[in-house]
């Protein structure tokens, strides 16, 4: 019985090491000299560190500050949109009775099943006909109107997991559907709100394809498009690419770390109540 926590701890350390390896690798490559390639990695340290790669990466990305602001704005809008749109829809599918509910939910799932790579072309034509290519609308609007089926599904499952007793109690207290959703149910799925926020943050922050297709003007660029500067024809400036990627990744790590601390506190209070 006593050995178990220790064993668990060792296992956790070993796993964490295995999962951290790619990040360490990336940092190592970002510090190596020119021309060593991706396989230089952890073995290239003896040949000297090159922290100046980071300054060079920012310089070559040409407008890093503006790209950062653009990415922050787009990401914030998407998070707000996804949280609202998906929790509403998820709640309706989980907790409200209406005809055609199960069929409609299958439609939600079905929209996930068409590969985005080919659906993107008809979607591009639609945005073009709406005259909104080279604006941020195609990057943001789908999150606000529509939302990701993935998250609708996650909210539905989470609301279902809470069980009907809470809602029943709220109803007896005289709460309508809106108040029940907003004041009673939503606070109970805070961990899921956090999860969806993190997922959306990372997906939007790191998205390359959508901005690549829709954004053309130099002053509308996002960070991932800036990173493409290092991926040139026939050749990849690997050390600069990794230095730039590390810079782009840093806010993600920070956001994630802060969010998961928030889950932790959430759980402690619940545990204390129980």
């Amino acid at each position: 019985m006593k050995a178990a926590p220790l064993l668990q701890r060792l296992l956790l350390i070993a796993l964490a090491a295995a999962f951290t390896l790619p990040l360490l690798w990336m940092l190592a490559v970002s510090l190596q000299g020119e021309g060593a390639g991706l396989t230089g990695g952890l073995t290239s340290f003896p040949r000297g560190l090159h922290p100046e790669n980071y300054a060079e990466a920012v310089r070559q990305m040409d407008g890093f500050g503006r790209m950062l602001v653009n990415t922050v704005l787009i990401t914030a809008a998407c998070i707000a949109g996804q949280l609202l749109c998906c929790s509403l829809a998820g709640y309706a599918f989980a907790c409200l009775r209406f005809r055609g509910r199960d069929g409609l939910f299958l439609v939600v799932l079905a929209t996930m099943m068409l590969p985005p790579q080919v659906l993107a072309i008809p979607q591009f034509i639609l945005w073009r006909q709406l005259g909104l290519v080279d604006t941020w609308a195609p990057l943001i609007l789908p999150s606000v109107l529509g939302g990701a089926p993935f998250f609708i599904f996650l909210f539905r499952q989470s609301f279902l997991a809470i069980g009907p007793e809470v809602r029943e109690a709220a109803r007896l207290d005289g709460c309508g559907p809106w108040r029940t959703y907003f004041h009673v149910m939503l606070p109970l799925v805070k961990p899921v709100l956090g999860t969806v926020a993190v997922f959306t943050f990372l997906a939007t922050w790191n998205d390359f394809w959508t901005p690549l297709i829709y954004v053309t003007s130099p002053d509308q660029q996002t960070l991932t498009l800036g990173l493409a500067a290092f991926n040139q024809a026939y050749r990849v400036a690997v050390e600069l690419l990794m230095a730039g990627s590390s810079l782009v990744l840093a806010p993600c790590l920070l956001a994630y770390f802060l969010f998961q601390r928030f889950f932790l506190r959430e759980m402690r209070t619940r545990g204390a109540k129980g």
Binding site: T39, F199, V215, P218, L225, A229, V236, G274
Partner: protein, 731 residues
């Protein structure tokens, strides 16, 4: 002059904006590109040149296709010569010959004539001007030859010389069958294999226009390479991923020859300080010398609003200023003779002979430019892989099969042009019709329902669903309807939508005969069968480990999630390092399991969902079970697991959909190879849509994928009624 006059006339009406998308925005030559644009504006008053951002690598190719599909105005684009034939056949480029003819200052002799040849259509008309070109040559490690006492071979060296030197240089000291030093590293993509076939007297097409790779001369060339690679083991293959990303055999001095390769390697090899190296023409075969030219060039797409000005800007881009700047980059040879012969390119005194790249031009050829050639090239390349990379079949067997597949593809193309067009109203109307139909259906149901009395809850439900429903109807329904139409049609994304041809159910009939599709089904199912259960088990295990509050679990949660947000390129590189460059990329049995194992690294998102789900486990139940004397395992099985089933179902469904859509990792690592062993379904439909420009068939494949995933999901949901427990719910 006419162009100038016209431009001035236009200027009076509205300011003219010339939209230019070239990859050189990201080159070291970016400043020069800006300069050329400003010079052009000064020479053409009233014209503004807008240099648009594309992106590097595959990104810029995709972006150009979207731009054309959406009919977005674009005046000058940058195209790879391998895509020229497809773009030309689909009418995506403007014929520049009339502009050249009218241009008194145009002197074709300023450019390498063999290079201009690559940009001519079947009618001999010129469609663009070169950025840089790359005739394939052989890189040679001179120091290595010196140390072995071998003289540098002369420029007219032969296959026999090549084999003799390679054999003399190869070292396998520990006799494990994997030499520490090879004679040659041979590049394997089809364009690089072509010179060997030509040098031996083989050919791609015969007089009747059929693929003739089964003729003995072509078969012998493949057999020669197969022998060097696998029987004599004096040559190593050079996988794409390794070539792009790694130091490689040549840079580490472990190989005497590297090629056939273009001038693009020079950029990396310039950094080599440990040994001297040089260029050699490719060795001659029994039919003499031959090489192939890779090239990127500037062209004017059909969506240009100002073709005359666009032509003038193409001339400026291919002019002395830009060409001289590109000469110094080390990525390709400038097409302008004066820039190529300048000291910027030749760099006298560097100990190498850059002139080799001009000397081989008289023997340069191009791959055929028939419609569907990119698909044929991929099919042939995949079959050759089986002989050259995997050594699974003989050269003769591979050649016979490649020829049969290629000729089937050739035969299919001929009738597409005779098909009826799809009515444009139908295609354009799809975007309007879908939302309107949905809206009508919704209003009708509500009205019918209202007659019977709609209760408060149902009204609220529709309000809750409104953002999703509006977005779905406006932004998703139209594109999905269009995708459904396209599944019965054929359309190239570089064409106008109104050029789509009706194919009927034929596209679905084609599925039965498509060997690549069958391979991709097999690979995808095998991957899903392994990945879906393993990912869920690993994610659940990780979640249980890190869900408990305690010192360090927060950090652990962050670390375990890390690989999920890293680029697939990084994951791929680390993965290769872990496996020590072993045979996994070539061994057909290990490819899919390798991708499954790699996917476990990114189980972090599923873990996070489980962690969130664990918060819904009622601690009181756990306490009660503990008081009843239930052990850890029983409490997990009877308390934790049932409470987790709602999120377990979520992870299974999302994992299933994700497994059938796996794309990024194989896309950056193997591109579907070797053979078709990692040609996952979405990778194949991406190839059809973006490389072969067959959007219709890609849509057909997309719907097949949809039906498969939909049916499997329905099965899963149906079964879930028996094993998913929603708290307090009766069912």
């Amino acid at each position: 002059m006419l162009a100038c006059a016209l431009a001035l006339a236009l200027q009076a009406a509205e300011p003219v904006v010339l939209r230019v998308m070239t990859h050189e925005r990201w080159f070291a030559g970016y400043e020069t590109l800006e300069e050329v644009a400003r010079d052009f504006e000064a020479a053409h008053p009233g014209v503004r040149v807008e240099i648009l951002s594309s992106a590097g690598g595959a990104g810029s190719r995709d972006k150009l296709k979207f731009t054309l599909a959406g009919n977005v105005p674009l005046d000058v684009a940058w195209l790879d010569v391998t895509e020229f034939s497809t773009f030309l056949a689909d009418g995506a480029l403007i014929d520049l010959q009339p502009y050249f003819d009218a241009d008194a200052a145009w002197r074709p002799e300023d450019y390498f004539s063999e290079v201009l040849e690559g940009m001519r259509g079947p009618d001999g008309h010129l469609y663009g001007l070169p950025s840089t070109f790359n005739p394939l040559v052989m890189y040679v490690n001179r120091s290595l030859l010196d140390s072995e006492g071998i003289a540098l071979p002369p420029d007219d060296w032969t296959w026999q010389d090549f084999e003799r030197i390679a054999r003399a240089v190869t070292r396998d000291e520990d006799h494990d069958g994997r030499p520490e030093r090879y004679g040659a590293s041979i590049t394997q993509w089809l364009q690089a294999l072509a010179p060997w076939i030509w040098q031996n007297g083989g050919r791609f097409l015969n007089e009747r226009g059929e693929v003739a790779l089964d003729e003995p001369e072509a078969v012998e060339a493949i057999a020669f390479l197969q022998r060097l690679l696998h029987e004599d083991r004096i040559a190593s293959d050079d996988a794409t991923f390794a070539n792009q990303m790694s130091v490689g055999l040549f840079q580490s001095g472990r190989v005497a020859f590297h090629g056939p390769a273009g001038y693009w390697e020079t950029y990396r090899f310039r950094e080599i300080a440990d040994f001297a190296w040089d260029y050699l023409p490719l060795p001659r075969g029994q039919a003499g010398a031959a090489t192939v030219v890779a090239m990127r060039f500037y062209c004017v797409p059909r969506t240009s609003r100002h073709p005359e000005l666009a032509y003038a800007f193409v001339r400026a881009l291919a002019g002395p200023k830009m060409q001289t700047a590109l000469a110094g980059v080390g990525n390709g040879v400038p097409g302008l003779i004066s820039a190529a012969r300048s000291d910027v390119f030749l760099q006298p005194g560097n100990g190498r002979r850059e002139e080799v790249f001009f000397d081989v031009l008289p023997h340069a050829r191009y791959l055929p430019t028939t419609v569907d050639w990119s698909e044929i090239q991929a099919q042939v390349g995949a079959v050759y892989d089986e002989a050259l990379l995997m050594n699974r079949v003989s050269a003769a067997e591979a050649s016979t099969r490649a020829t049969r597949l290629a000729n089937e593809t050739l035969a299919r193309r001929s009738d597409a042009a005779q098909r009826p067009r799809l009515p444009p109203a139908l295609l354009g109307g799809a975007f309007l019709a879908a939302p309107i139909a949905l809206l009508l259906a919704w209003i009708l149901t509500l009205r019918r329902r209202r007659a019977r009395g709609l209760d408060r809850e149902e009204r609220a439900a529709w309000a809750f669903l409104a953002p999703w429903a509006i977005g779905g109807a406006l932004l998703l329904a139209g594109p999905i309807l269009l995708l459904a139409l396209l599944a019965f049609a054929e359309w190239s994304p570089v064409q106008l939508l109104s050029d789509a041809r009706w194919m009927g159910a034929e596209q679905f009939a084609r599925l039965a005969r498509d060997a690549t599709f069958h391979d991709s089904l097999r690979v995808t199912f095998w991957y899903a069968a392994l990945a879906v259960p393993l990912q869920v088990i690993v994610a659940l295990g990780l979640a249980l480990l890190v869900a408990k509050p305690g010192r360090g679990t927060g950090t652990a949660r962050t670390l375990l999630y890390l690989p999920t947000i890293l680029s697939p390129v990084v994951l791929g590189a680390v993965w290769r390092w872990i496996l020590d460059d072993g045979p996994w990329l070539r061994d057909p049995h290990w490819i899919v399991p390798s991708f499954v194992l790699m996917s476990l690294w990114t189980a972090g998102s599923q873990m996070l969902v489980f962690v969130a789900g664990l918060q819904f486990v009622d601690p009181a139940l756990h306490e009660a079970a503990r008081l009843d004397g239930a052990g850890r395992w029983r409490r997990f099985l009877h308390v934790t697991l049932p409470a987790l089933t709602p999120v377990l179902l979520f992870n299974l469904v999302v994992g299933l959909i994700g497994a059938f859509q796996v794309f990024a990792q194989p896309f950056v690592m193997t591109q579907g190879g070797p053979g078709n062993e990692s040609r996952f379904l979405v990778l194949y439909l991406y190839d059809q849509a973006f490389r072969y420009l067959r959007m219709g068939y890609a849509s057909t494949l997309a719907w097949v994928l949809f039906v498969i995933v939909f049916l499997l999901t329905c099965l899963l949901l149906r079964s879930s009624r028996r094993w998913v427990h929603y708290a307090g719910a009766g069912r």
